[in-house]
């Protein structure tokens, strides 16, 4: 950090903004609109607010293509989180957030503060956070560094979520060489609220007070937003000062206190917003801009952890656990007293003003005086001319697997890190606090009962970078379809999605192509499943030394269960139950786990996805579950039928006796749009009357034998032989 501030002229000549992620053209544009040269503080504010993280300057044109509204959506993208009506006066609120860069630098605190940040987005709307999810992607080379990274990321997510008392009910962990240097740490939180309590982040009404509450502002994480928007260089260590430490205890107090304000002090509250990326400047400027007002803040009043902080540092600090409120004049004391009751620091630090100037005072001097819109609205957007990547122009020929030893292949598949059980990781999360968890991690989706209603919410987080690498458009659609499939398997009707768009450098034509094409696939699928995008987050520049990750949109989807008695879990329930396979199985091996097992790579074009057929199958499964005709359901994804059977048998070590026309290799085919269902013998006739030829009988659940007759081979073993591998392989690999 610079010790003596450069003058406006020195800034113009020495161009320090280049280090802060601004281009010369952006600086010039800012100065031109301002009508003078910006001073050091103003230039700093611009660098934070014009970063990709805050301004979406590259992604805005893409995000505009998303489908964001239907009759259930109460609030779409643009606020802290989106809101969907669920009936009985209640609404569900959710959003996802990426913390990829901070977690790569400092895995424990990076992951922990990722959870902390997304929780603030939820309660700032007025919703009680009821569940979190985490979507993680790591490299698959388990060297000491990667093992430690995985351990610490998981510890950090648990460390924060467990302490604050929000259950982590679902998520995913993927392993792929593409993430070895750029791990993905995406977190999602779901909240529940009364429709009538929805809050917005706005600062309106001349003379109303701006109140700062929560942790003191320190020098940690200064300019994290422009840091998140810049590419990594292996050689550079300078990023390390960006580390922030999470304080879940403080956040628990903040959550409870802010929810009390939104519920019991509606007369006083004008708006509330969390301080996320670009800290104080982004929260305050956005609140003013959304309401169409100006604002003045006195930085001497901001609680500070260290002496001698400059305005630049105070405004751009990303210290955690802080909120900004706009409170109607005259009600200040009532709100300050409320926070005091929670032992929280709260101060009036500014006022809403007429006009649209954003003014900051420091030691009695005006250190910033610019139109609010210069920070929030006047940011240029960029489009890159997209170009189809070379690898997509000439896809590899279709993969044709040969299986010589079925039992051996089966076991190897189950031991693959992407297939093996993730229990050793997610058992480190408290999945049950708040005592509403109907389905904890290990099912197709997490399920939370909604208190004071007869409903439950199902939720899942899915991503499929390896498929998008083969075809971004189809892969994008598949990701949405798979998320919906996971919800439907529990008996939920999909409601809507949030996303984290994790990509490489968007100024590269190939990356921009991936972004654009995957958005196309996502839009088509969201319309098909009636799941608008209500919130999301963009994480670009996931590159190290110019090598980017797979295009990886993470889709977080929430669904509604109207009847608590019709919730289905994945595990086989009882020997004698009849097992059906819904959806057609083809020969779809490109991008499959079997392909990776046999060739060490994912390659070829994507086959085996039919959006219309997928929707029909999902509708059928939902109907059957709602009719109480299914007592276990599981969607087929990685590892196809082979993996799904073992996942269903694992809990009770129940087996399967089956006779099928499928071939040995088809056992491993990854055709989309399929489910395994079990049906009690007494429900068979009713089930078949509805399912007709859309589900074929595969066999019968057994007490432990696993005997499979295929068109061209057979397998005779004990389920326990396979479930042991499935249950223990990952824990062993990470020891």
């Amino acid at each position: 950090m610079l010790q003596t501030e450069l003058t406006p002229e020195q800034i113009r000549d020495q161009k320090p903004y280049l280090q802060l992620g601004l281009t010369e053209a952006e600086y010039n544009l800012f100065a031109e609109r301002l009508g003078r040269l910006p001073n050091y503080t103003e230039m700093g504010l611009q660098s934070g607010m014009w970063s990709e993280h805050c301004s979406y300057k590259y992604s805005k044109p893409i995000l505009k293509t998303f489908w964001t509204k239907n009759d259930r959506v109460l609030m779409g993208p643009g606020e802290g989180a989106g809101v969907i009506r669920i009936g009985e006066g209640k609404a569900v609120v959710f959003k996802a957030e990426s913390h990829n860069h901070p977690s790569a630098v400092e895995p424990y605190e990076g992951a922990a503060t990722g959870i902390g940040g997304i929780i603030r987005d939820i309660f700032s709307i007025g919703a009680k956070p009821v569940a979190s999810l985490d979507a993680l992607a790591f490299g698959d080379e388990f060297d000491a560094h990667n093992k430690n990274l995985i351990d610490q990321v998981v510890a950090g997510i648990g460390g924060y979520g467990n302490a604050i008392g929000i259950p982590t009910v679902a998520g995913e962990v993927q392993f792929d060489p593409g993430y070895q240097k750029n791990p993905l740490v995406n977190a999602m939180t779901v909240g529940v609220m009364d429709e009538k309590d929805i809050q917005k982040g706005k600062a309106a009404g001349v003379g109303n007070a701006i109140i700062y509450v929560g942790a003191k502002t320190g020098r940690d994480g200064i300019n994290g937003a422009s840091f998140a928007s810049a590419e990594f260089s292996d050689a550079e260590d300078a990023d390390r000062s960006a580390v922030q430490v999470g304080d879940p205890f403080m956040e628990k107090l903040l959550t409870d206190a802010c929810l009390e304000v939104t519920h019991d002090h509606k007369d006083a509250l004008v708006g509330i917003q969390d301080m996320g990326a670009a800290g104080l400047v982004s929260s305050s400027a956005e609140m003013a801009s959304k309401a169409g007002y100006g604002m003045t803040m006195d930085l001497d009043l901001i609680p500070q952890r260290e002496p001698g902080m400059t305005p630049f540092e105070i405004m751009l600090s990303e210290s955690q656990e802080r909120m900004l409120l706009c409170i109607r004049a005259g009600h200040e004391q009532e709100i300050l007293d409320l926070f005091k009751g929670y032992d929280l620091d709260a101060v009036v630090c500014g006022r809403v003003e007429d006009g649209h100037q954003y003014r900051l005072l420091h030691h009695g001097e005006v250190v910033c005086d610019i139109p609010v819109s210069l920070l929030t609205d006047d940011v240029p957007t960029y489009t890159t001319v997209p170009e189809k990547p070379e690898r997509l122009k000439n896809p590899a020929p279709d993969f044709e697997p040969v299986i010589e030893d079925l039992a051996a292949t089966y076991k190897q598949l189950l031991a693959m890190p992407n297939i093996a059980s993730k229990r050793s990781l997610y058992r480190r999360y408290d999945a049950q606090v708040q005592t509403n968890t109907v389905i904890a991690p290990g099912g197709d989706a997490g399920v939370i009962r909604v208190r004071d209603t007869h409903k439950a919410l199902a939720m899942t987080a899915d991503s499929n970078g390896r498929l998008l690498a083969l075809d971004p458009e189809i892969g994008g659609a598949i990701t949405v379809a798979e998320a919906a499939r996971n919800l439907v398997a529990t008996g939920a009707e999909p409601l809507g999605i949030t996303d984290c768009l994790n990509y490489g450098d968007p100024s590269k034509p190939e990356v921009y192509y991936e972004l654009q094409q995957s958005a196309k696939g996502i839009v088509a699928a969201t319309k098909k499943f009636n799941t608008p995008v209500i919130s999301g987050n963009v994480s670009l520049y996931n590159e190290t030394d110019h090598h980017g990750i797979h295009p990886t949109p993470m889709i977080g989807m929430v669904g509604l269960i109207e009847d608590l008695t019709a919730i289905t879990t994945v595990d086989f329930k009882q020997a004698g139950d009849i097992v059906y396979l819904a959806g057609n199985t083809g020969d779809d091996y490109n991008g499959s786990s079997l392909q990776y097992l046999q060739t060490g790579a994912y390659a070829g074009r994507l086959t085996g996805f039919d959006l219309e057929a997928e929707k029909q199958t999902q509708d059928l499964v939902l109907t059957l579950i709602r009719e109480h005709l299914v007592n276990a359901a599981h969607d087929l994804s990685d590892g196809g039928l082979a993996a799904a059977i073992v996942e269903m048998g694992a809990k009770r070590e129940l087996g399967l006796i089956a006779d099928t026309t499928l071939t040995t290799t088809q056992l491993f085919s990854e055709t989309q749009g399929r489910f395994l269902l079990t049906v009690k013998p007494e429900d068979q006739a009713a089930f078949e009357a509805i399912a007709k030829d859309q589900a074929v009988q595969l066999g019968v659940v057994s007490t432990g034998d696993f005997d499979l007759k295929l068109a061209d081979g057979e397998l005779n073993t004990q389920m326990s032989q396979l479930t042991t591998i499935y249950s223990e392989a990952l824990a062993c690999a990470l020891k």
Partner: protein
């Protein structure tokens, strides 16, 4: 044989929630004469070898395992035992 006494502390700019909670509790209990609290880790490691080798080894141990140099600083002393 050497005994390494190793101290690991948060760097000053990093928030330490542990120390904050202790300070707040003491002030709540009326112990207002307590002006500051810092919390760190203290390790003792016994090692065989000559001083230079041990010194290098301990430094690496601190840097790579005992301290998280992203946010912590360490110092140590060696004592022949």
């Amino acid at each position: 044989m050497f005994k390494a006494k190793i101290y690991v502390n948060y760097k000053p700019s990093v928030l330490d929630p542990k120390a904050e909670v202790i300070k707040n509790t003491l002030s709540r209990l009326g112990q207002t004469n307590v002006k500051d609290v810092t919390v760190g880790k203290y390790f003792e490691v016994l090692l065989e070898g000559d001083r230079d080798a041990v010194d290098q080894q301990v430094d690496a141990l601190c840097d790579q395992m005992l301290a998280n140099v992203n946010m912590e600083a360490y110092r140590y002393s060696l004592e022949e035992v």
